[in-house]
């Protein structure tokens, strides 16, 4: 498996598209935060802080990070299918499960670390205007983000599964469109908002009793920052379960496929 990682890492380091996708999405996220908080504006003379941006994660950083995970997982896992260079992994004498899990684990590493960077770095430009502030403690945001990254893991495994199942299609973009459609159609009246990925991300960054007001140039927020342990545990459990399911199904299809 180490050889598969080394050769894949050699290739991925030179894959400009991954960097471009991350940079574009990161820029979009930063722009959304800045336009939502307008730290350069003088309307109400309010100074927004980094920790305030953390409270926005459910509507901003989280969906963008999930989108990054989706696109990148399909791109990284699928890039060698169209040109059939994945065949060399099998011809070189590696078992199918080694090839699959070697690639899948590397894909997960890339998507989770990319998503983590978006969650952590996107609000930082606000530090120049208002500093870190105390809207939300770092440990609170950190724990929510860690559970959120399990959701990113789930989405990555979903992308891997879709790629393996639909690999006969040479266009990864059709695959992405299908997956987005699938995720969107899971919206509606879910029994539990943690089940569909698009609502699960937001649910992790919801705060009970939220209210905010501007006073003497400061933004004062009132909310219950208590960590919703039940929600976090359920989300983590669901994410691990669904990630395992998608990965197992993908591994099965991969092992039975003809190349």
């Amino acid at each position: 498996m180490r050889a598969i990682w080394r050769s894949q890492t050699y290739q991925l380091k030179r894959e400009a598209s991954i960097y471009i996708i991350w940079a574009v999405l990161m820029s979009v996220c930063v722009c959304i935060i800045l336009f939502s908080t307008k730290p350069w504006g003088t309307e109400a003379g309010v100074t927004y802080t980094v920790s305030y941006a953390w409270t926005m994660a459910g509507d901003c950083q989280a969906p963008i990070a999930m989108f990054f995970a989706l696109i990148t997982s399909i791109l990284v896992m699928g890039m060698d299918y169209a040109n059939q260079t994945i065949n060399y992994d099998l011809l070189a004498g590696y078992e199918r499960k080694t090839v699959f899990f070697g690639r899948a684990l590397l894909t997960i590493l890339i998507t989770v670390s990319g998503a983590a960077l978006i969650m952590l770095l996107a609000p930082l430009p606000l530090a120049a205007a208002g500093g870190f502030g105390d809207s939300l403690p770092l440990w609170n945001y950190g724990i929510r983000t860690l559970v959120f990254l399990l959701l990113v893991l789930r989405i990555t495994c979903e992308g891997i599964f879709i790629m393996v199942v639909t690999r006969k299609w040479t266009s990864a973009y059709i695959t992405v469109a299908l997956l987005v459609l699938m995720e969107e159609t899971m919206d509606g009246p879910p029994k539990n908002e943690l089940i569909p990925a698009n609502t699960a991300g937001a649910a992790l960054f919801q705060f009970a009793g939220w209210s905010s007001l501007h006073l003497n140039g400061e933004i004062i927020t009132e909310y219950d920052a208590t960590l919703p342990i039940d929600t976090l545990l359920l989300s983590a459990g669901l994410s691990i379960l669904m990630a395992s399911l998608f990965l197992a199904m993908a591994a099965f299809f991969f092992s039975e496929d003809d190349f």
């Binding site: 050769s7 011809l91 004498g93």
Partner: protein
């Protein structure tokens, strides 16, 4: 136990929804031989090679790999083999060296110098280093595929039409390379090609495929004996002649497309054949010896099979 046997294929079968690509194929690959896999398009050559490489899962049968008397797992065996199946699988937006470097890391070949060495061997060392594979001709991509196959110094090479797209000089170079690898390094080769004259110059053994089945397998020595020992006859009553020869001499007589009769391996039986025809009042119009090369032998096999 045959210590010279490298691969043993038993009743190998591959079925798809649209039909059977390979049906009950059985053959052995002996060490240090060069096997030509011969057959028309759709005969199953590439499918067999893909099953040997683990790209396609057989529907039935077994493939066994050996190292002397010890049986190897397919993965262990493939680490000692190299494959070039269909067109070489390459990243077109990368250079030759970048493609080979990735594969060098995959195959755990320690020495980075091997890339320059194999590019030199296949005649690509003068190509600008920053030229991407997208700008390569078909022949250059084939050479690059062969370079990849050479990188790990394999014991056995499986090559699917490696000379496809090469110019005449390239064909000779690759043929000489493969011969050198076989003679000097003892590399076993399984090669398919539509250029039968090239296979005739290279191979020690032949496996003939048609509609997914082996219709014949023969060594080069046996082929040399068979070729040039056929009789061609034409009579006024070819059908009667065919019947008489079959009944009285037990000879399998084959009718060619042009109506003449071909009697395989019968040059030594001319006298007996003439006697039968004359004694039964069949007028002989023409008799000659047929000199066959691999191509005509192959065409006669296909004709018989159809």
């Amino acid at each position: 136990m045959d210590r010279e046997r490298l691969i043993s294929v038993n009743n190998l079968t591959k079925k798809y929804k649209f039909g059977t690509a390979v049906a009950n194929v059985t053959f052995d690959i002996q060490r240090k031989h060069i096997y030509g896999l011969v057959g028309p398009n759709g005969a199953g050559k590439t499918t067999i090679m893909k099953m040997l490489g683990g790209l396609v899962i057989p529907s039935g049968g077994q493939i066994h790999f050996y190292d002397g008397e010890r049986e190897l797992s397919p993965e262990q065996a493939r680490r000692q083999m190299s494959f070039m199946i269909e067109t070489p699988y390459l990243r077109r937006d990368r250079t030759a060296r970048q493609n080979l470097e990735k594969l060098r890391l995959l195959k755990n070949v320690a020495n980075p110098q091997v890339i320059d060495d194999v590019l030199e061997i296949v005649g690509l060392s003068d190509v600008p280093k920053n030229k991407t594979v997208r700008k390569y001709s078909l022949g250059m991509r084939q050479r690059l595929g062969i370079a990849n196959a050479l990188m790990s110094h394999p014991q056995c090479m499986v090559l699917d039409e490696p000379i496809n797209g090469l110019d005449p000089t390239g064909i000779v170079e690759i043929r000489e390379l493969l011969q050198r690898l076989n003679r000097q390094d003892g590399v076993t080769i399984l090669i398919s090609s539509h250029i039968l004259s090239e296979l005739a110059n290279l191979c020690t053994d032949y496996i003939f495929l048609h509609h997914g089945r082996i219709i014949n397998s023969i060594s080069g020595e046996e082929l040399a004996k068979v070729c040039g020992s056929n009789l061609l006859i034409n009579t006024e009553q070819n059908q009667l002649a065919q019947q008489l020869l079959s009944d009285q001499l037990g000879i399998a007589v084959l009718k060619r497309e042009d109506g003449q009769l071909r009697i395989p391996d019968a040059v030594d039986c001319k006298k007996e054949i003439l006697n039968v025809l004359v004694n039964n009042g069949v007028t002989l119009l023409h008799m000659s010896e047929e000199t066959q090369d691999l191509e005509t032998y192959y065409m006669s096999l296909i004709q018989d099979a159809d």
